[in-house]
Amino acid sequence: MPSQYAFIGVFLLVALALPIIGLVLAWLIRPKKPNFAKNATYECGMETIGDSWVQFKAQYYLYALIFVVFDVEAVFIFPWAVAYGKLGLYALVEMVLFILILLGGLLYAWRKKALDW
């Protein structure tokens, strides 16, 4: 196991290095002629009004929220799935209960229109 992660470490460094090398290379050969209009924010060809901050819908947050809950659920499902073959019937019953409780949460979100855009 440690040797596999040693490779992952090397790979991570190489994977970060390649784009950097590419960018440095491009930086060496490309033209550099900035001017004000070119560097302006790319919107509708007009002067940008205000900061780029816009009011976001809280809906985005609700999706992230439901996602967090299901992501944590997945963390419990994976080791259960790997061990399942060696476990008795109780493993099935307990996981069914676990998922049904969570489905209750999903149903609640559905009814409260938290899943609608």
């Binding site: 929220l65 419990f76 080791p79 609640y108």
Partner: protein, 161 residues
């Protein structure tokens, strides 16, 4: 070799953590926080807890950090970046933190920790899964109830009326 990797990773984690606290921009703080999470995940791998390392990345970077960034975006523009980011008692707090650290280190070095290094079982993930539905089945089901309670509570609180 392991020592060198450990020192590099822990320095990375700790300096990222300092930047989380010190950074002026809240978004930058969140990015440093992600780096700190990544450093801790790599320390988990050094501790041979590979499942936990990826769970850590999955939950902390993939879910909690994104939640934090969404919340930062949703409440943007309220904090003037030129306003002080610390409250009035920050000097006191740093002193307290340093004191706590010294205290912890003193206690830590005094106690003879029972060290018993054995190999991690090869089927660690299977054992973990068996533990969830075996010994720890009550916390396992309670975790599900907790998650649903958090979901319902957060939807009620955050929903636009």
């Amino acid at each position: 070799m392991q020592q060198v990797i450990f020192i590099v990773l822990s320095l990375l984690t700790l300096s990222a953590a300092v930047m989380v606290v010190a950074s002026r921009s809240l978004f930058r703080s969140a990015l440093w926080l992600i780096l700190a999470f990544a450093g801790i995940a790599m320390l988990f791998i050094l501790l041979q807890a590979e499942f936990l390392a990826f769970v850590h990345i999955l939950i902390y970077i993939g879910a909690i950090a994104i939640l934090i960034i969404f919340a930062i975006m949703l409440s943007r523009g309220v904090m003037d970046p030129n306003e002080p980011r610390f409250n009035d008692q920050w000097r006191l707090v740093i002193g307290f933190g340093a004191l706590l650290f010294v205290g912890l280190v003193v206690i830590m070095l005094r106690i003879p920790w029972p060290v018993n290094i054995v190999a991690v079982p090869a089927d660690a993930i299977q054992l973990l899964g068996a533990d969830f539905v075996g010994t720890y089945v009550i916390p396992f089901e309670v975790a599900s109830v907790l998650l649903v309670a958090a979901l319902i509570g957060a939807i009620v609180i955050a929903r636009e009326h």
